[in-house]
């Protein structure tokens, strides 16, 4: 029997590589943005599509947020330019790498 593949659909899943091994299914704190409480794989409340248009941002302190959520916080006077998690001055790591990896 000879099978000829006429066309095919590739299906892939993606998630942000946040340095954590597995997404926590049970723990709501693990993989959600601490500011909007939406999972990292979803987009921030102001965006419609998750992915490159609504990236994550990673601070020197290793805390991660939706970039749009963090910028909104840093834009308020109340933030004093501090990380919402540890109140250290927000800084970007010198080597900034967040990549979407297939899994």
């Amino acid at each position: 029997m000879k099978v000829t593949i006429k066309h095919w659909h590739a299906v892939a899943q993606w998630r942000w590589d946040t340095g954590k091994s597995e997404p926590n299914s049970d723990d709501s704190e693990g993989d959600v943005c601490g500011i909007c409480r939406v999972p990292f794989e979803g987009c921030c409340p102001t965006c419609k599509m998750p992915g490159d248009d609504c990236p994550l941002i990673w601070g020197e302190c290793t805390h991660i947020f939706h970039m749009h959520c963090l910028l909104k916080w840093l834009g308020t006077a109340a933030s004093k330019q501090q990380c919402p998690m540890d109140r250290r001055t927000w800084g970007m790591p010198t080597k900034f790498s967040l990549v979407a990896v297939p899994c």
Binding site: S28, G34, I35, C36, R37, V38, P45, T46, C69, K72, W73, T76, A78, Q82, P84, M85, R87
Partner: protein, 220 residues
């Protein structure tokens, strides 16, 4: 759905699903932006056995602005206004962070009851009482828990009706001191007010002369 509404709904649901923390949050009217929270008074404090209700208002720019909270239940505590229930707590003001939640903020309120900060008071008179005599302060706080928060002794007949409440104990004063100045011909409620304002308690009693008290009593 707007981001604030989505987050608040999620937070309310989280509190409902969590049975370990003893924090309850319920709607006051149809809006999820005006809530009533409550928690039991922490053990081994004068608030033990009481149930404390908190009025919660979610501001328009939440979570970028702190949630507004104040006690509905009257609380005798240096960082809570004994008149209005207003709370002095850093995270409700300039130490707010958008990662704080209704639940974590309520837990902070609960721990504020365990560890008063009299140096940053909301109620200066209560803070003075606390610093002058901690034992006397705790007696008063315990009495408030009984009469206002449904504490352990609340079913006793003495606190059943507001008229039967002990105004001297509410003010955290010694009944003998009140009687002494009442006997000079001053009305009881004026004596209570004056002695409370003067913080006539503990080691202070020997420092405040009778003349000073009378002067305070004669103030219009």
């Amino acid at each position: 759905m707007d981001a604030r509404l989505r987050r608040v709904n999620k937070e309310i649901a989280d509190c409902k699903n969590d049975r370990t923390s003893n924090i309850r949050i319920e709607l006051v009217d149809n809006s999820p932006f005006h809530l009533k929270g409550s928690f039991p008074g922490p053990e081994e404090t004068p608030y033990e056995g009481g149930n404390f209700d908190v009025d919660i208002v979610i501001p328009p720019s939440y979570p970028f602005q702190p949630v507004k909270m104040k006690f509905i239940t009257k609380v005798y505590h240096p960082n809570v206004s004994s008149a209005s229930g207003a709370i002095c707590l850093d995270i409700l003001k300039d130490a707010w962070s958008p990662v704080l939640t209704l639940k974590s903020t309520m837990i902070s309120l609960q721990s504020l009851l365990c560890s008063p900060e009299p140096n940053d008071p909301q109620d200066a008179e209560v803070a003075k009482h606390y610093m002058t005599s901690k034992t006397s302060f705790e007696d008063t706080a315990r009495y408030w828990t009984e009469i206002y928060a449904g504490g352990p002794g609340s079913r006793a007949a003495k606190v059943a009706s507001p008229g039967a409440r002990d105004e001297v104990a509410i003010a955290g004063l010694d009944p003998q001191h009140v009687t002494r100045f009442e006997n000079l011909g001053f009305p009881r409620n004026k004596v209570i007010d004056a002695l409370r304002r003067l913080n006539y308690r503990g080691g202070n009693v020997s420092k405040i002369t009778e003349d000073r008290v009378v002067e305070e009593l004669l103030k219009p």
